[in-house]
Amino acid sequence: MHFRDPSPLPWAGQLAETALWVRRRAVDGSEAFQVFSVHCTHLGCPVNWRADARLFLCPCHGGVFYEDGRVAGGPPERPLFERVWRVAADRLEVKPEALPTVKTKT
């Protein structure tokens, strides 16, 4: 999913966009989501979803995550960073946030 920075600099171009991974699932009959930052929790490279294997793989240092964000292998110590979301008028809204780092998110 693409996500646009609410207040980009006019010359930011493509950089105003952010990619997110959204996992949609049903919890107790109602719809629920998990919205992940694409940044690997090791050093920030973009994790890549392998649909058949149901895994997120990182191309830099080999981090692997399960579909719910838990670490499946490699250097990362913590699950994928999640974003705050809500559903309003049938639209999924995601809260804009700074680059997530091991320090800023616990």
Partner: protein, 467 residues
Amino acid sequence: MRRALRWLDERFEFGDTVLAVLRHPVPRALERPVGWWYVFGSATLGVFVVQIVTGIGLAMTYVPAPNSAYDSLQFITSDATLGALLRGIHYWGAGAMVVLVMVHMSQVFLFGAYKYPREINWLSGSLLLLGTLAMAFTGQLLRWDQDAFWSVVVAAEQAARAPLIGDWLAKLVVAGADVGGATLTRFYATHVFLIPAAIFGLLAVHLYLVIRRGISEPPTPGERIDRATYRERYRAILAKGIPFYPDAAYRDAVVAFIAVVAIVVLAGVFGPPQLGKPADPTIVVADPRPDWYFLGYFAVLALIPREAESLVIIGLPLFAFAYLFALPLLFPDGERHWSRRPAALAVVAIPLVAYAALTIAGFRSNWVPVLDEHAALPAAVVADLDPTARRGADLFVSKSCFACHQIAGAGGRRGPDLSEVGARVPRDRIVTRILSGGGGAMPAYAGSLTPAELDDLVAFLETRTKR
């Protein structure tokens, strides 16, 4: 002509200033072949001048705005007259800078030339090394492709691990909360104004001291530096010395010239580095790699154990530079010749071998799953399989097992080679490993394989009894 020169000299009086400096005496020993070891500083300076010239050339066209930088680089590379050569020279020159600074520093270190009274030559040189590495890093970011974009992110994530100031550092690196409109201009200003200004200042100090303190005489085993008598002894050496220009300087000129020609040839033959896809946070299928001189460090980040990670990321560079800065202050006198300083040899050789090995590891990147959409098992492997094993072979690829495990010489190298797993590992252990993972890197597949799929996959693996 002669009259014009005399007219100018009457006004400038170069004879007893610039010329006198050029003709400053250096130890006579530099006439001997050992003099060829004293050329790497000048070679570095020569390449630095090339970097300035080509950098200015690039800056005339490069647009340091995120929405245009990539296009302007495309223009320089494919449309501008000699643009590709210009980019190529700047790129290979950057690599040459890193290499030559390292060689120069190793030579100075092994010759014990950093000792009294040349400690500040060494300290200013250490800062120049820092400046060179900072230029190399910021420079590759200005390429503003996917490698560059993700390098900024990784740099910020590393900075964030610093204790106390981590957050602030990370924000400083990306110029804001996230990589955005302000990031590239900050890196541009840093690369084009800030660091070069620092380098010019340091270079002035460095060169002033080279002239003022004089070039160190080639060391002799057993001849120790004694602070009480060294200056007297050195003065006597210079009294019998030779003028730097032209007696010693021709060697500097020859090597600097070779270095510059080598760069231009490399640029002409191999050209500038490929521009990857443009920097775009929404392209998540990326395979970011730093330029070759940082690949060793990239490998460290993949290979160190988790527990030591933050310590290595923050501690190792800090330790390395603390060592560089403390060195001349801790060991200002004593033996200079490398044959009497075995520890000094180790200090150069061990990191050199280690970094070379890590660079090779970084090129191979065995720890990375091979994410190839068109990956396929070798034809010989899938020929003659029964239907169950055949389905298993397909699953082996589609479930990304193949991304980490080799079969018959193909596939990823992250996990163990499974070419003969059927002969090596009993069925129940194969099943357990697939379902519950383990070993630090293997994910548990219990949630993503049906029992039937598991049977197929195991049936395929059991056919693998020989390479």
